[in-house]
């Protein structure tokens, strides 16, 4: 006779894979996919990452000098932002949170408008019709709330038999929320064209990844919803592009949703209102700097694509000029007029609000 334990049968077992192509010094760990070997593409990606970094640094500097509101820097997360921005097709839709300014930058949103938003002006989210990001969502501030919305977007695409995909990002902290769980749990039921990307930067304000959830990976939360879950080294631009492009292509082809956990590190404080020295070791941050995504791609470009110190200097000058122009435009934009409070509140301002709008515009109490 079998013991009760022996009588149990294995119903399912799972594996989680991590994709990584370059080591910290930019040396290849394997034969790279063909797309990754095209120098023009990689140079384009590197330029984008440099733009994002310059933007992040300038935004923090503006805040420190009283010219911008509280800002959540994405310093250190440029590779995953760039990979998403490059992977998304024009007709795809992106939803993400406050730290992922790099994605709208990659999708054509003027830097000045992103500054305008963080400078406290809603018009910073009124993106021009001409940019690929036009149908993308504004930054979500309530953590994880954007994740279930992505299912509705993807459902609309599927219902209309469109070959489009929805991509939604959230943080490691966000993956603890019910919003996230409800979304991942349901996405597989309809095989929706949606890609979830957890940007695991190891911290949610002061809470480290280890205190967020005891699961070995966050990627395995996809498995709980019956969808593919995998990890990628989110500081490896080439690997992250590969994994995200593959997931988006699957989604567009009707093969269903996927969850990607991109491993990265938040090099900055949580926001400009935070001081991370209160809760994390300087040594940890120093170690993380060794995995800097820009340095890694830069090393590869130098070794494989003939990228020179001169090229780097020229690139930095161009990027600084772009940021400089954006800052000028932003600082020259006047604050919204008082009646803007009532702008676009409803398609048409209901008569019930006319008196309030009149009062707000300086017409005196209703």
């Amino acid at each position: 006779m079998q013991t009760p334990d022996e009588a149990r049968t294995r119903v399912a077992s799972f594996e989680i894979f991590l994709t990584r192509f370059l080591d910290d010094d930019g040396r290849p760990l394997c034969r790279l996919p063909a797309a990754a070997r095209r120098p023009q593409r990689l140079l384009h990606a590197y330029r984008l990452m440099a733009r994002i970094r310059a933007f992040e640094n300038k935004a923090v500097a503006l805040q420190r000098t009283g010219q911008l509101g509280t800002y959540a820097s994405g310093l250190g997360q440029e590779a995953v932002n760039a990979a998403i921005g490059l992977g998304l097709a024009r007709d795809d839709v992106y939803l993400g949170n406050y730290r992922e300014c790099g994605v709208p930058l990659a999708r054509g949103v003027p830097m000045a408008q992103i500054l305008q938003y963080w400078g406290g002006d809603e018009r910073g989210m009124a993106w021009p019709r001409t940019v690929p990001a036009f149908h993308d969502f504004p930054f979500a501030v309530p953590v994880a709330s954007q994740v279930p919305q992505a299912l509705g977007v993807a459902y609309a695409m599927q219902l209309r038999h469109e070959k489009r995909a929805t991509l939604v990002t959230c943080g490691d902290g966000a993956s603890s929320k019910g919003d996230f769980a409800e979304a991942v749990s349901a996405a597989g039921v309809w095989k929706l064209p949606v890609v979830f990307v957890i940007i695991n930067n190891q911290w949610a304000i002061s809470l480290p990844r280890s205190r967020q959830c005891a699961a070995v990976t966050l990627a395995q939360k996809g498995l709980a919803g019956g969808i593919v879950g995998e990890q990628v080294d989110g500081n490896d631009l080439i690997a992250t592009c590969h994994v995200i492009e593959t997931a988006l292509a699957r989604a567009r082809s009707g093969a269903g949703p996927q969850l990607v956990e991109a491993l990265t590190y938040r090099l900055a404080d949580h926001t400009t209102a935070d001081d991370a020295r209160r809760y994390r070791d300087a040594a940890e941050v120093d170690t993380a700097r060794k995995h800097d995504p820009l340095a890694r791609l830069h090393a590869w470009l130098e070794a494989q694509c003939g990228f020179t110190a001169q090229d780097e200097t020229r690139l930095q000058a161009e990027v600084a000029a772009e940021v400089g122009v954006a800052v000028k435009t932003f600082l020259a934009t006047p604050a919204p007029p008082p009646e803007a409070l009532f702008d676009a509140l409803y398609a048409e301002l209901p008569p019930a609000l006319h008196a309030q709008a009149f009062a707000a515009a300086g017409g005196g109490e209703a």
């Binding site: 839709v93 809603e122 018009r123 989210m125 009124a126 993106w127 036009f134 149908h135 969502f137 504004p138 979500a140 501030v141 309530p142 709330s145 994740v147 279930p148 919305q149 992505a150 299912l151 509705g152 977007v153 993807a154 459902y155 609309a156 695409m157 219902l159 019910g178 919003d179 409800e182 979304a183 749990s185 349901a186 039921v189 702008d343 676009a344 509140l345 409803y346 398609a347 209901p350 008569p351 019930a352 609000l353």
Partner: protein
Amino acid sequence: MARRKAAEVTLVEAINLALHHEMARDENVVVLGEDVGANGGVFRATVGLQEKFGPGRVIDTPLAELLISAMAIGMATQGLKPVAEIQFSGFMYSCLDQLANHAARLRHRTHGRITCPMVIRAPNGGGIHAPEHHSESVEAFFAHVPGLRVVVPSTPARAYGLLLAAIRDPDPVVFLEPARCYRLFREAVADDGIAAPLDTCFVEREGTDLTLISWGGMMHEVRIAADQLAADGVDAEVIDVATLKPLDTQTLVASVAKTGRCVIVEESPRAGGWASEIAAELAEHAMMNLFAPIARVSGYDTIMPLARTEARFIPDVGRILSAVRKTLEIAPLG
């Protein structure tokens, strides 16, 4: 539009009729919620829709209210016109984050780049001897949120017309249906596709002595009270608020300015209920015309009781009449 013969229908049948009409008229309309497909919804509001329009447009969702509200938002941003059903309004609290933080403000925070034409509907209120949490009156939670519309029908015809209007409206609408009126009475409703006006209170009975203001399930008791008052020679004006947010203060003020006496009847707990907002508006704009203080008849500031005592919580005709009598004692009819 071809004139259809008006059939005698219940309120829940009128909802069903409106959904059928609008799904046939506009292929962007989709219905989603728990058990709305083959089962036709726990109150049968969505009966027959899935058979007619298919599972792609009549969507049985997993059991996840936050997800339902969030999916409706995502769909709405893509040009669909989602009508989401929540089985009971007591389970809408987990939708509040999505509705207040996103549905209500997407248009404003993107300056019109992204909009959210969705309806979220649910049975609301008590009197159906249901289990705990199935009898809540939640309208004031939503009516407080700028950017939302809150609509509460009180008759089959108004349910039909207002639901059509809500679906066609370019902004998010919370549509709360009085559960105990679902099958309370029948009324002739022509399935003519004609929407009723939103943002407008309905003066459904004109009078000169006093104004009775209410909405949703309480309208039934208010109508009975008005009949009894008429028998006693008191001529009450009766107003169905219908759209709670934005509030048609003008109609309410005009009525109270005329009658000088006002009783507001609501089912929800008293403190911070929508009757308080209406009373404040009337105090600001009609004070000089008042002969007596504005009276509120509300549920109590208690937990909604279970079935055996719910009738003590929900205002009845007697409580309405005694509030009216008090008003008339202070300011007798001249």
